[in-house]
Symmetry: C2
Subunit: 272 residues, 2 copies
């Protein structure tokens, strides 16, 4: 925090929101317009989601830098080998960014959603924030984009609100769902079958709302009980509002009849 | 959802973020520039926080509408009398907005943070969304503004993340804090003593970070253990990250030495 700002570049952790390029903040937009380098994580051979979202706000002359993961799903993410490879990768990426900043360039690392909420940016931040001037620009989370699309007040008053990863074991999920709380289930992917079963066992399947790619092209919305398959992409989640009232009953009609479903052409939408 | 849009105005629920006017989204900005009426909740005789945040983005010629609460703290918020008065107030406010929209005017209701995350907008939404074209623009939450200011990665990987209202009884708070989860305590206000005691009993006081008015004028940041009093304004919260690692230990030095503290002139900052 005591480094000179005369010749050393600043590090910006910039949240680019859930998908719609209009859901960046004015501050994120200004920084992307003015920064020297825009860096992003990417799977080798894949386009970065964060870059797709932010692309239209980055001047064509701005230098971009892909930080490509050495491994993704070939190794188990809890294995020692995976952790070691990721550690080395984060060390090297941080070194690259540090060299750029020491040469006087400012660097924005763009993240989907919010950089410090389940974000990969933290691995760079913990390596660089003590040495460089660092600023975090918060972003709209995917869950906020989802309940805004569904138009569901997710929590109110004295509700406890909870985010549960769908990667937990079914027994743990049941335990989480049995509390009378507002819940968002993230990291659904191939775990939707488990999540659905746990919601049924906890008596909360009726309330659960499935949202896919909120605010992005191809966004989908339905009650989970009406979705016939357990296929779900990375950008999907399940919302369970914290209340069951006459008001919520009124909203159910709204979700079921939401225009997004009528416009859809995916097979399971026909059951909604 | 089937109303004609030819002559009837649209209802926008617009999140204006945690305080910094630059933390509105591009979409919120566009809507505020183009809408016919901007409406907001306010305590009688007080300036609206949402209006303070959004003011510079609202054209001077745009019509504004204050919806003033009939009661605030004179009646207990769980009393029948309070609920009845609030119900009537929300009915009347919705009627006023409905009349405007039926006359062809579009209306934006502005909310601090995110409209559907512990927001008062829901009381209007449940009364109007079935009758009028309605769109929700998500906003950056106060908690996201807070962990971005503190530069604390609040959760990662398979963490469960939880928002707990500080208004719960001390025993309930202890129970919540004892889980090994990432936690944000909201609605601190005059409950900070209870929250502190519960954190101590649950063995998590050492980790807890206190943030006040994040992204607003007068923002404050410190470890809760170093804050000598239990005085806290409405716009304050406590962050308890979901992990304790070597990385987090490194960040502790960052929080303790954050520029925001050095620049502060409030008394308790001297202890940080």
């Amino acid at each position: 925090m005591t480094v000179s700002t005369m010749s050393i570049g600043t590090l910006y952790g910039v949240g680019v929101g859930p998908g719609d390029p209009e859901l960046l903040t004015l501050k994120a937009f200004r920084i992307l317009q003015n920064v020297d380098v825009v860096a992003y994580f990417a799977k080798a051979g894949h386009r970065s989601c964060a870059l797709t979202i932010a692309q239209s706000h980055i001047p064509e002359t701005t230098r971009t830098l892909a930080m490509e993961y050495p491994v993704t799903t070939e190794l188990h993410r809890h294995s020692e080998e995976y952790k070691a490879q990721l550690d080395t990768f984060h060390d090297n990426a941080s070194k690259t960014l540090a060299d750029l900043m020491e040469s006087g360039l400012s660097v924005a690392v763009i993240s989907e959603g919010d950089p410090l909420f389940y974000g990969s940016f933290m691995h760079l931040h913990i390596r660089l924030a003590a040495r460089f001037n660092t600023e975090i620009i918060p972003g709209i989370t995917g869950m906020s984009g989802s309940w805004s699309l569904a138009q569901i007040p997710i929590c109110q008053g004295d509700d406890v609100f909870k985010v549960v990863p769908g990667t937990l074991e079914e027994e743990q999920l049941v335990e989480q769902f049995q509390q009378n709380e507002a819940i968002v289930v993230m990291k659904i992917g191939r775990h939707l079958g488990n999540v659905r079963q746990a919601l049924k066992r906890a008596g909360r399947l009726q309330q659960a709302i499935y949202v896919e790619r909120a605010t992005q092209d191809g966004q989908q919305l339905a009650f989970l009980k009406d979705k016939p398959t357990n296929q779900a992409p990375y950008f999907s989640l399940v919302l369970i509002p914290g209340f069951e009232t006459a008001e919520y009953d009124a909203l159910k009609g709204y979700v079921a009849g939401a225009p997004i479903n009528e416009a859809s052409n995916t097979s399971w939408q026909q059951d909604v």
